[in-house]
């Protein structure tokens, strides 16, 4: 029997992987992917809770989260392309004109 706790464990794991990815990876594209992973952890949470409470609110919330994640990724990649044109690199540690 799969209970709400299993879903929460999956979502917590996703959150952890995403957080580690953001903090440790060097490639900016991979960091963006890690952020998506965190947002998907949220979606898993929302949909599991939605089922648990027997209502649709959480699923609607998840759709909003997906839409916003797309907007953020679009802007993120746009900024990344501008950065790549000017610097010729997508490595986070080579982006160092401003002191970290």
């Amino acid at each position: 029997m799969i209970t709400i706790n299993h879903y929460l464990a999956v979502s917590a794991t996703l959150l952890l992987i995403g957080t580690l990815g953001v903090l440790t990876r060097r490639n900016i594209v991979v960091i963006l992917m890690s952020i998506e992973l965190i947002l998907n952890a949220v979606n898993v949470n929302l949909i599991a809770f939605s089922k648990y409470h027997n209502q649709v609110t959480g699923q609607v919330f998840a759709i909003f989260v997906i839409a916003v994640a797309v907007a953020e990724a679009a802007v993120g990649l746009g900024v990344l392309i501008a950065l790549f044109r000017n610097k010729g690199s997508v490595q986070a540690d080579e982006v160092d004109l401003l002191k970290w």
């Binding site: 709400i4 959150l15 995403g18 957080t19 953001v22 900016i28 960091i31 963006l32 952020i35 965190i38 947002l39 952890a41 949220v42 949470n45 929302l46 599991a48 809770f49 648990y52 409470h53 209502q55 609110t57 959480g58 609607v60 919330f61 909003f64 989260v65 916003v68 907007a71 953020e72 802007v75 993120g76 746009g78 900024v79 990344l80 501008a82 950065l83 000017n86 610097k87 986070a92 982006v95 004109l97 401003l98 002191k99 970290w100």
Partner: protein
């Protein structure tokens, strides 16, 4: 049944106007040929959008005053119109208008004058409206992201400038991360309550024991996201880089609008949704406040770039503001409101002077660039002095009353240690603010020609300068305004 009532419309009107004017700016720019000289009229349209929105806000205030200040709720409880919302929306609108006034010439000097800039400022203000007015987590989330995504683009607006690209990239990565954490907290709150409103959350929190792990996880992730948004340590890493790399006008707007809206959200979440969980979040907030004060004030000492120094000082200001929340009494909350009001004018003012001093070919950014300013441009030097005194919190300038109220609140609630620590850090902050003053008044320098400032910059400087002095000399009406915003 989903309906759209007159009340809903009345509450939403300022945001509707902002959004419509933003879209109008984009469409008009698209419809008319690019070579119409100057395109200054687009600025006019954008500012009139802000004026109309401000007028509606005033109407809302009048309506509330006539009806005994009872808050209006709309959209099935997703938005709440109360004095709190009007006060903070007012701050954001005024800061947007001031930024519009100074942007035109700045962008022309940078050869990046595009209509999208004005539209994005309006959209960011639009997002801030929903953060401040919303009490439903979905609404808040959408507002937060509308504002954040607009700011990501604005920070990177100087496309050809590597530093602007870099600032935008760092802001976006850390901003996206923090939004993820915040929304994770929200998803847990939804799981606990089965509803997305903060009011429902407030009714559930006391029933969960003080050691409920799920609630604690929700509080920690939400707080992490919120602390990032207000630029408080230990989630402050983005602030110095973003403030330094962004166009100066955007830095001013980011420092004020984003911080004000996010602080209003923090107050709503903590005071409405999580008021029952105070023992859980108060130690976390205290730690963040002390850390912000320490990191902000100590790191600012060594900075040679003025924008970067102001960024660290804004981290320190976030620390003072958090102390007002930690104090936990009415005085503290009034202190936070009045602090944010004064902070808006003095911060925009300080960045404005940097914008006004722009030279041919290079921006004024380092402390050495300001050397001997008192001899070259005494009026700018004097204005900068006023803003710096205010940022440090020296009477009779505006910054004093905010700090006064926050320290008073800490003493009233018996948190003497924090009050003493805060006062000590004010002394530290004097050191780095006066390093700038020393450079302006007592250091010799070679002459450098400054480009003539536009009338917009003059007007904005006059407004911020007068407001900073007026709030310091005659604080009563502003204090009453701040107190009314909290229903006190």
């Amino acid at each position: 049944m989903i309906t759209y009532s007159a009340t809903d419309h009345f509450i939403l009107l300022p945001a509707l106007l902002l959004g419509m004017f933003g879209i109008a700016v984009l469409l008009l720019d698209f419809l008319f040929p690019k070579d119409i000289k100057g395109r200054g009229w687009l600025v006019g349209i954008a500012i009139s959008g802000l004026v109309f929105a401000g007028w509606q806000l005033w109407e809302q205030h009048r309506y509330l005053a006539e009806h005994g200040m009872t808050p209006l709720t709309g959209f099935n409880g997703a938005l709440v119109l109360d004095n709190f919302a009007i006060f903070f929306n007012g701050i954001v609108l005024v800061s947007a208008a001031l930024v519009m006034l100074i942007s035109y010439r700045y962008l022309e000097n940078e050869h990046e004058h595009h209509a999208e800039y004005y539209a994005l400022v309006l959209f960011a203000t639009f997002g801030a409206f929903f953060i401040i007015t919303g009490v439903d987590m979905v609404t808040i989330f959408i507002g937060l992201e509308t504002m954040a995504v607009s700011f990501y683009v604005l920070v990177g607006f100087l496309r050809g400038d590597k530093r602007s690209n870099e600032a935008a990239m760092k802001y976006l990565l850390l901003g996206g991360f923090s939004t993820g954490l915040l929304i994770y907290g929200f998803s847990i709150f939804y799981g606990l309550t089965g509803s997305t409103t903060l009011i429902a959350l407030a009714s559930v929190v006391p029933a969960r024991g003080p050691h409920d792990p799920l609630l604690y996880l929700g509080i920690v992730t939400t707080l992490a996201g919120l602390l990032f948004k207000i630029g408080a340590a230990p989630f402050h890493m983005w602030a110095p880089d973003t403030y330094e790399g962004a166009p100066t006008t955007v830095t001013a707007f980011l420092a004020v609008a984003s911080k004000t809206a996010s602080f209003a959200l923090l107050l709503r979440v903590l005071a409405v949704g999580l008021s029952g969980a105070r023992p859980q979040w108060e130690p976390l907030l205290t730690g963040a406040a002390v850390l912000s004060l320490t990191i902000g004030n100590l790191a600012a000492i060594t900075q040679s770039n003025v924008k970067r120094m102001l960024a660290y000082s804004s981290i320190a200001h976030a620390g003072y503001l958090l102390l007002g929340v930690v104090a936990g009494n009415d005085t503290g909350l009034i202190g936070v409101a009045i602090y944010l009001l004064t902070y808006a004018f003095m911060t925009i003012g300080a960045f404005l002077v940097l914008v006004a001093l722009r030279r041919k070919g290079a921006a004024v950014e380092t402390i050495d660039d300001l050397a001997a300013l008192s001899r070259r441009y005494p009026s700018y030097a004097l204005l900068m002095l006023v803003f710096l005194l205010s940022l440090a919190g020296i009477p009779p300038t505006a910054g004093f009353i905010g700090k006064y109220y926050i320290f008073l609140a800490l003493v009233e609630s018996g948190k003497y240690g924090l009050a003493i620590l805060g006062a000590l850090y004010v002394a530290v902050s004097l050191y780095y603010y006066f390093r700038l003053v020393r450079s302006m008044f007592f250091v010799e320098s070679t002459e450098a020609q400054v480009l003539a400032p536009s009338n917009g910059v003059r007007l904005a400087l006059a407004i911020t300068g007068m407001a900073t002095v007026a709030m310091g000399v005659l604080p009563e009406p502003f204090i009453r305004m701040a107190a009314a915003s909290l229903g006190r």
